[in-house]
Amino acid sequence: MASRASFQSPAPFSAQPMASTSSLVTPTLALLADPPVRQVDAAAMDYLLIEMVQTLRESEAVSSERLKKAEDEMIQAGFMPPTVAAREKQRKEKEKREKEKLRESTGSGAGSPAPGGGAGKGSVEEDAAEEGLRTRLEAIGVHVGGNIAERLCRERPRFTDTLDAVKFVCKDIWSICWDKQVDNLRTNHRGVYVLQDNQFKPICRISSYEGQQDAQRRARTYVALPAGIIKGAFARLGFDASITPEIPHLPQCKCQTY
């Protein structure tokens, strides 16, 4: 079974300076002698995330298509008032027309032909689809996070307060799932915590041939599952948190929880 622990750097939680009585026992040797228990297969998680995003994206498209068809049928039959839907559509048509006018006046861009005309309508729908995809990923993550928290909390004593629980998430959950700990934890002492990871594992290898901006945009989808895991862990611990992940620049990731 491939374990993706890096043996070059010692585990962060043993970061106290070792008062070395013997010079032979380095942190590396200690790691080799007593490897930490791995709860998550990192490689499988990586592949699963990649495949999951693809599959769920298509599944979400099919599902929302089906939903829209059902809605349209209801509107046709007169069961649902067309007000909200039709108004939205009219607004979108107007936006699209305006965008097309702009696009024609600035000349054809370097983008691919397909989004040229339909980008006005396309981007709004695409955002909705991505949003749906992210919601699904987060729901899966909630489930996973809750169960991981359950597993980890079996032996430990109860949490004293919110900060204790947040620290548990930062250290234990992060190192179980992503092989490291959170780099920076900030709080405003009023219930908002910001967890910052400068090399967030799920997104540190994302790249896109359309450039850094595009990679950053795509990374937002991939971060939905980890955000769900954190949310699920907090929920299982008893804290109803809402998590907002942000990617200032790859591969840094900040999560705000309230």
């Binding site: 919601t135 699904r136 987060e138 729901a139 909630v142 489930h143 809750g146 169960n147 928290a149 359950e150 597993r151 909390c153 079996r154 032996e155 430990r156 004593p157 109860r158 949490f159 949310k231 699920g232 929920a235 299982r236 611990l237 008893g238 109803d240």
Partner: protein, 159 residues
């Protein structure tokens, strides 16, 4: 291991004070209500005592012990009062076994496939499902009880 304790009933209560499972081994249907009442009374004692749990209270013919897991699921154990000395270590071990039963039952990833996407589901509600489903949890609790020497008829009891 000669069983010196006689386990009468087990109750699991969620962090939101909802009952998850109440299981009793006395064989008479009407006792069900009694054990629900015991679990309810225990909730007050849990509230009072935040730290040391163990013997919660004793009534005429039984004693009730309590245990709270790190994720705040409460387990209530009812034991017949006899003249034998009940060791704390024994009771703790029974509670650990009950906790493991709960933990294994909850680890089932297929516990709830139709959860709504945006709700944070109360995970313990999953185990409160109707009696015909999720028999696995009940079976595990029965196993623990059998290990304690209780005579549990195989899959005949309904709570």
């Amino acid at each position: 291991m000669a069983p010196s304790l006689q386990v009468l009933g087990v109750g699991y209560i969620s962090p939101q004070n909802q009952p998850i499972l109440i299981r009793y081994f006395s064989g008479k249907k009407k006792d069900g209500l009694k054990f629900h009442y015991i679990a309810h009374t225990s909730l007050d004692v849990f509230e009072e005592r935040k730290c040391y749990l163990g013997l919660l209270y004793a009534m005429d013919d039984f004693a009730v012990y309590g245990y709270i897991t790190p994720l705040r699921v409460k387990i209530v154990l009812t034991i017949a009062l006899t003249d034998n000395l009940v060791r704390d270590a024994d009771v703790t071990m029974i509670f650990r076994a009950l906790h493991m039963a709960y933990y294994h039952a909850l680890a089932n990833p297929f516990l709830r496939l139709d959860a709504p996407y945006d709700a944070v589901v109360d995970h313990t509600a999953l185990l409160v499902q109707s009696k015909t489903q999720w028999k696995g949890f009940r079976r595990r609790v029965d196993e623990v009880a059998r290990a304690c020497g209780v005579n549990v008829p195989p899959d005949g009891e309904e709570t």
